[in-house]
């Protein structure tokens, strides 16, 4: 795809001719060499500061430490699973509230959604953990649920609202009640179209499970920290980061790619014809911006 991009004219530049292409190739080669030099320098630094000595990598050979890491990863995934499940449920409830015909219900739901979206998720987690004295896992899950549930409520709502108006009018004119219109017509189409955004929001939830580290929940990063602060292995901090981050980033990337793939698939799906499929953007949906 990237190779084609340069063959197309954009608002910025025309399709390059042979001489420009050669110039671009030269730029490309020079910058590649510079980048490789930068990478090489970093690798040199790593060697220079003795990050590849056997002592620092030995801990990863021990079964106990491998088990510690796996347990941390399991705890991360457990927190993510609970948070995803509960925030989808909370999102559904709050979206129903915001789409309600009864004004007080709508106001209450709006208030809750706006408040929880405006608060830093870490403040909520700390509040639940410190002030309400809840155990780390429930505190983490509750904080993530409140935040992501509120964001998802907005996603659900905008999905339902983005279904073509004719669909709703047709359903009502067939004599359906509001509940029927919602459950049979609007929600199935809206949710399908919003599936990419919903999954992107779950990536945010997965990333934010690492906040559990800050409230001493024994998740992946916590396990890493335990190994990294071990004097017996000469404080293998960089090795730990080098082992942990590919796994963490890999998991999130996998889920992100799934969202993008889903977006591409849904665009071709006849079941989402009446709705515009949302692109799989990373969730930074915030107050004041719809």
């Amino acid at each position: 795809m990237t190779a084609q991009l340069s063959r197309e004219a954009t608002a910025l530049y025309d399709i390059p001719g042979p001489r420009t292409q050669q110039r671009h190739l030269l730029y490309g080669l020079v910058s590649t060499v510079l980048l490789l030099a930068l990478v090489g320098w970093i690798v040199y630094l790593l060697f220079d500061t003795d990050q590849f000595t056997a002592t620092k990598w030995r801990p990863f050979e021990y079964e106990g430490i491998q088990r510690l890491l796996l347990r941390g990863l399991g705890n991360t995934l457990k927190a993510f699973g609970f948070a995803a499940l509960f925030s989808l449920a909370l999102g559904a409830v709050l979206a129903t509230g915001r789409l309600s015909d009864h004004r007080p219900v709508r106001w209450l739901a709006t208030l809750l959604v706006e408040f929880f979206r405006a608060m830093p998720v870490l403040v909520m987690i700390f509040f639940i953990f410190v002030a309400l004295k809840v155990q780390p896992l429930p505190a983490l899950v509750a904080g993530l649920t409140l935040y992501n549930g509120s964001v998802l409520a907005e996603v659900f709502r905008s999905g339902v609202n983005s279904v073509e108006r004719g669909q709703k009018e047709a359903a009502f004119s067939l004599g359906m009640r509001k509940t029927q219109v919602m459950t049979y017509v609007l929600v199935p189409q809206g949710i399908r179209a919003m599936l990419p955004t919903i999954i992107s929001q779950l990536v945010v939830a997965l990333k934010d499970t690492s906040l559990g580290y800050l409230i001493t929940y024994e998740e992946f990063l916590h396990a890493g920290k335990l190994i990294a602060s071990n004097l017996d292995y000469d404080l293998p901090f960089i090795p730990v980061v080098m082992v942990i981050s590919p796994i963490y980033i890999g998991m999130c990337m996998l889920l992100s790619w799934f969202a993008t793939w889903m977006a591409r698939r849904q665009k071709r799906n006849p079941k989402t014809e009446a709705v515009e499929v949302a692109p799989a953007e990373p969730g930074t949906l915030l107050p004041g911006v719809q």
Binding site: L5, L12, L35, V123, L206
Partner: protein, 214 residues
């Protein structure tokens, strides 16, 4: 209630710490994001690759992990800086990925015909960029950049947990002093609301002045 009045200077220090982190990290994020967006739309393949990797990796990195790696990892390379500076770097780099995507999609909203028309009038690349493409892109990136910067302000709370002076961190001192923990948190929440609502108001104003009339 008296938690705020009796500890005003402590809250003030935390509040200013969060504001400072937000402002500096925003500057870093905007500058880096602009650079990366330029890379991502450039005709040179390796620049594009660098931009893509930067965005995809940072967007999928948990911010806590990034803080962990930067604040506790970089000193192992012999790079010892104040924690606040490390926090600004981590926050700025993380947010730059989101800024980059916002800017790039802003540039992509400018129709190809605009650039073609500019070039057919004989404008040079820099003229096309500064007089035609960027002004139009700027109008459509105001809302997404605003929401990204609000997210940055909220994310700065993580720095507090890594012992950088900021708003959330004040709870520790106050709870040790024996103040009512619920009210402590209420005032922290109010502080964050002030910051995020200010940013959102500024961007709403900008949107009103320069935004695309739809």
């Amino acid at each position: 209630m008296d938690v705020l009045t009796k500890n005003f200077s402590l809250y003030g220090k935390g509040f200013l710490g969060t504001v400072e982190l937000t402002v500096y990290a925003s500057a870093v994020a905007l500058a880096l994001g602009f650079l990366m967006a330029a890379f991502r739309v450039s005709p040179v393949g390796s620049f594009r690759a660098l931009g893509t990797v930067w965005v995809n990796v940072l967007r999928n990195t948990p911010l806590t992990l990034l803080f962990f790696a930067v604040l506790l990892g970089l000193p192992r390379f012999g790079l010892v800086l104040p924690f606040k500076l490390f926090a600004v770097i981590a926050l700025g780099c993380y947010t730059s990925a989101f800024i980059c995507e916002a800017l790039r999609s802003g540039i992509n909203t400018v129709p190809t015909g605009q650039g073609e028309a500019a070039r057919s009038l004989g404008m040079t690349f820099s003229q096309t960029l500064s007089a035609v493409v960027l002004p139009q892109a700027f109008r459509s990136v105001i809302p997404p950049v605003g929401s990204t910067l609000i997210a940055l302000a909220k994310n700065s709370a993580i720095a507090g947990a890594f012992s950088v002076t900021e708003l959330l961190g004040t709870y520790k001192t106050l709870s040790e002093l024996g103040y009512d923990i619920i009210w402590t948190f209420i005032w922290i929440a109010v502080g964050y609301l002030i910051i995020t609502l200010t940013i959102s108001a500024v961007f709403n104003l900008m949107e009103k002045y320069w935004g695309v009339a739809r």
